[in-house]
Each structure stands twice: as structure tokens, then as C-alpha cells.
């Protein structure tokens, strides 16, 4: 499997506070990989540092052998990486369809709007509604749906299941598996490892701004105790 994303010795800062202390991991093409960890372990900061939203960073992030550290977020996006933020980032001044069409196409080969509506029929029904009038689950689907159009091959999803009802969580799980079968590569940040276990090929565990452990999907069962310990569940 070709290595799509390789993060090495990544350090990141918010103003004066040092958040990431040498994060390292890799994601292969077509894989679904999760970053697990407690609140404040640095998972979201890792995604934002890859994306260039956190600009103060050191170390190396390579995507298809191009160095991303030093690039601004708009340049990173143009290389084919898309970000779905934890707070979903649906725009209230835009309707559903405008939200869906907002991210510009960065590469050929993105999904067509019709295909996205097929996956998320609710969005099609409500395409004239104001974006923030949707339910939490629909907003999450919109937030994922709109980055599928762009042609980005690596999707960074930050806690897509947070605060959602179990049936919606299940639906999002199906969507992530469907994306994998379409060839998307997904880096997923999760606190809910029960959910993560249903979708991911590999898991990395983060603690205090570092990657401290990793498991393959088939190693998860035999390491439950360790995981419970890491995540404090």
C-alpha cells in the first residue's frame, strides 16, 4: 500500500502554549485510520496542523511526498486534502445547496452533487433550507457531503459522531465504509472508540500531544484493557 500521509516529529503551538510534542504516524492510500485519545490529547490540533489551520508548527507532514509544513491552509486544500471540523462549520447565511457547493473543486474526479444527494437524501429534500436550520445529524451529513465534491482524496474528519443519536452514528459509519470502498482515504478523530472500531483499519492512541500506541483493527479485542486505560472509559 502506498503511503499517502506521513507525519513526523510534528510540534504545534497555540500562541505560547505548546500543544503537540513530536507527533508521528502514517496513513496509507485507501485506509481509514483513527486518532483516539482523551479530551485535550491533541487530536484536533493534529488535524488542524496537517491542514495548516494551526500555522505555528515544526516537524514534517508529507502528503504524496510534498511537504505541507509551511503551506497555508488554502494551499494544502488545493493539494487534495479536505477538512470536516468538529463544530461542522455549516454557514447560516447559506442554504443547504449553497453550503454543499461552497468548497471549490481542487482536483478532477470528485463526486457529483447527484451522487451526494443519493447518499444523503435528506439533504436533497431540504436543499433550500438555511444551513443551520438542519438537525445535528443532517448538519453533519452536509459537512461530510460538501467535501466529497471537491476531488480531495484525503478526508480529515473531526469527531463526526459527537452528540448524535445512535441511528445517525450508524448511518455515518455506513457512509465512511462506503467512502473507503470508493477509494477515499480517511483520517478520523474519535473519542467513541466503539464507533471507531466499526470503521477503521488502524488506530493510533494520543496522549499529551504525542502518539503513544497503535493497534490494527484485529488487535483491538485483545487490547481492550489497555485501551480502556488510555481513554479512561
Amino acid at each position: 500500500m502506498r503511503e499517502l500521509l506521513k507525519v513526523e516529529n510534528l510540534e504545534a503551538y497555540y500562541g505560547e502554549s505548546h500543544i503537540l510534542h513530536g507527533v508521528g504516524f502514517s496513513v496509507g492510500e485507501g485506509e481509514v485510520v483513527t486518532l483516539l485519545g482523551r479530551n485535550g490529547a491533541g487530536k484536533t490540533t493534529t488535524l488542524k496542523s496537517i491542514m495548516g489551520i494551526v500555522e505555528k508548527r515544526k516537524g514534517s507532514v508529507r502528503f504524496e511526498d510534498r511537504e505541507l509544513v509551511g503551506l497555508r491552509s488554502n494551499a494544502v486544500a488545493r493539494l487534495g486534502i479536505a477538512f470536516c471540523p468538529e463544530e461542522r462549520g455549516i454557514f447560516s447565511s447559506l442554504n443547504v445547496e449553497e453550503n454543499l457547493l461552497l468548497p471549490p473543486e481542487v482536483r478532477p474526479g470528485g463526486m457529483r452533487v447527484e451522487e451526494i444527494y443519493e447518499i444523503f437524501p435528506n439533504l436533497k429534500e431540504r436543499r433550500r433550507s438555511q444551513g443551520t436550520k438542519l438537525s445535528g445529524g443532517e448538519q453533519q451529513m452536509l459537512a461530510i457531503g460538501r467535501i466529497l465534491r471537491t476531488g480531495a482524496t484525503l478526508l480529515l474528519l473531526d469527531e463526526p459522531t459527537e452528540g448524535l443519536a445512535p441511528v445517525i452514528v450508524q448511518k455515518i459509519g455506513e457512509v465512511i465504509r462506503a467512502l473507503k470502498s470508493r477509494g477515499f482515504t480517511v483520517l478520523l478523530v474519535e473519542q467513541n472508540f466503539r464507533f471507531a472500531a466499526t470503521v477503521a483499519d488502524r488506530h493510533y492512541v494520543m496522549e499529551d500531544g504525542r502518539v503513544v500506541d497503535q493497534f490494527r483493527a484485529d488487535e483491538l479485542q485483545s487490547n481492550m484493557d489497555k485501551l480502556h486505560d488510555y481513554l479512561g472509559v
Partner: protein, 293 residues
């Protein structure tokens, strides 16, 4: 001659037209302010000076290059907009993360400097600018000068076009989204800093265009902007900062209200807008069309 509410119709319609003309300028200028505020979070106090520069630019194009009004209508907004982009790159860019007050103070200072330079160069008496559309039409109830009709129509077209671009196009969706969450819009691959720069240039260009339209009506003088801008700020406060349609509707409406006040109670004509502003601030502090943020 019949009378309407005790007022001769010529006076009524004359003032109504005058009100519409003033309203056209209020609308165009407050529209520019709204666009700039929405995107940059900067209250652009230099707007009046930039409007004045637009008028002077038209005057200079004619005097030194012999380019007539219609050329100036195209060229002056571009020149003044480019000047705005320069200001954004040099100064404004450094203030985005600070309180509104810094932007206001900086742009206020810039407007004093610009007006000072023009006053020093051209004196404060003002330069005449020939009317490119002389003559008019007698409509029976009033006389309609062609140029004034053109100003109202042109302003309406510009306001509508701006509204359309912002509310109905892809580019406008980027602008609206970036007003809400610039970080995320940039992470989608859009060069937000450049978009902000161009937005400021556009808003300033709009002020320049208003200046060109004003040149044949008012004297081209260094203080023409500061006389107008105080009222325009009142209009913006009434309409609500940052609302596109709100600033257009409020601009025209208040122009007409001011005109009608001149007919029915002339003593209040210069204060009526400020009285309305005070009432609106008491009842709806965010303005008639504004949203609290």
C-alpha cells in the same frame, strides 16, 4: 395651480427628487461601508475621503487628460479602488485581529490626512464640473433634469448588481461564508486574505463611483466627503451594520424622508435622520436590518 396638503406640487416633487438623489448617494456609500464591514470588520471612516477622491479623480481626468465624464465613470472607481487596495495592504491588514476601534481610528486619521492634502492643493472652495447630460424633461407636475434621473437609475443599478453578486452568485457565497468563518473557507482552498483585499478595493471603488456621479451635481471640493459621511454613518446605524439590502433600502428611504421633511417642516430637515437614528438605537440597537453578533 392646485395644492397638495397645502404644498405646491412642484415643491413637493422637487424635494422628493432631491431626496431620491441624496438617497442614491447614501445608499451607494452605506452599501460600500456594509460590504467592507461585513468582510473586514473595519468601520471605514476613510469612505468620505474616498468619495471625494472619486470626484477629484474625474475632475483631474478631464482637466489634465481631457477624458470626459463617461471615461471617468469607468476609470475613477478603478483608480480609487486600487488606492484602497494599497491602504489595505499597507495598514488595514494589520488591524483585523484587534478591536473595531483601531480600524475606525486609523481610517479616521487617514481621511484627515487625505482631506488635508487635497485642501492644501486645491483650496476649499471647490471646482465646477460640467454636467454631461444637460437639459431635462417637463413632466407637467415637475421638471426632471436628465442628469439627476441618470444618477438615481445608475445608483439603483449598482446597488442591485452588488446585491445580486453577494446574495445570488458563487462568489457571493464565498464572501458570505468568509464573513462567518474565514478560517474554514480558507481551509476549503480559497485565498481569503486576497478576497478580503479585493473586497475592500471594491467597497472603496464604490465610494469612488459615487464621487464621480456626484461631481456634476455638487462642487468638487475637498470637504464634500466629510459633509456627507456623517449622515451616511447615521444611515448605516439605522439600517444595521453589515446588511447589504438593509443599507440600500435605508439609504433611499432616508433620502426621501429628508426631502419630505424639507417640504413639510424645513426646520427639522438637517436633524431628522439623527432623530430617527436615536429612536432606532433605543428600539433596535442592531439597526432595522441588522443582526446582533
Amino acid at each position: 395651480m392646485f395644492e397638495l396638503l397645502g404644498v405646491p406640487p412642484q415643491a413637493l416633487f422637487g424635494q422628493l427628487l432631491l431626496g431620491l438623489i441624496n438617497g442614491a448617494f447614501y445608499a451607494m456609500l452605506s452599501l460600500g461601508l456594509a460590504v467592507i464591514f461585513g468582510m473586514l470588520n473595519v468601520i471605514n471612516f476613510t469612505h468620505g475621503a474616498q468619495y471625494m477622491m472619486g470626484a477629484f479623480c474625474a475632475w483631474m481626468l478631464l482637466k489634465f487628460l481631457g477624458l470626459n465624464y463617461w471615461f471617468a465613470l469607468i476609470l475613477a472607481p478603478i483608480i480609487i479602488g486600487a488606492f484602497g487596495i494599497l491602504l489595505e495592504r499597507l495598514f488595514l491588514r494589520r488591524l483585523y485581529n484587534l478591536d473595531h476601534l483601531y480600524g475606525l481610528l486609523l481610517t479616521f486619521g487617514l481621511s484627515l490626512i487625505i482631506e488635508g492634502v487635497f485642501r492644501n492643493q486645491f483650496g476649499s472652495t471647490g471646482q465646477p464640473y460640467d454636467n454631461p447630460l444637460p437639459g431635462g424633461q417637463n413632466l407637467g407636475f415637475m421638471f426632471l433634469p436628465y442628469y439627476r434621473a441618470w444618477v438615481v437609475v445608475a445608483s439603483l443599478l449598482v446597488c442591485l448588481a452588488t446585491w445580486f453578486v453577494i446574495e445570488r452568485t458563487r462568489l457571493g457565497a464565498y464572501l458570505r461564508a468568509a464573513t462567518e468563518n474565514p478560517t474554514l473557507v480558507q481551509a476549503f482552498g480559497i485565498n481569503v486574505p486576497r478576497m478580503i483585499m479585493l473586497t475592500y478595493g471594491f467597497g472603496v471603488g464604490l465610494a469612488g463611483l459615487a464621487g464621480v456621479l456626484a461631481a456634476p451635481i455638487y462642487q468638487v471640493s475637498p470637504l464634500m466627503g466629510s459633509n456627507l459621511i456623517i449622515i451616511v454613518f447615521a444611515v448605516v446605524v439605522i439600517g444595521g451594520m453589515g446588511s447589504i439590502l438593509g443599507s440600500v433600502i435605508t439609504g433611499f428611504t432616508l433620502g426621501v424622508v429628508e426631502g419630505l421633511t424639507k417640504v413639510f417642516y424645513p426646520e427639522a430637515s438637517s436633524t431628522v435622520i439623527f432623530v430617527i437614528m436615536a429612536i432606532v438605537l433605543l428600539v433596535r440597537p442592531a439597526g432595522l436590518f441588522g443582526q446582533t453578533r
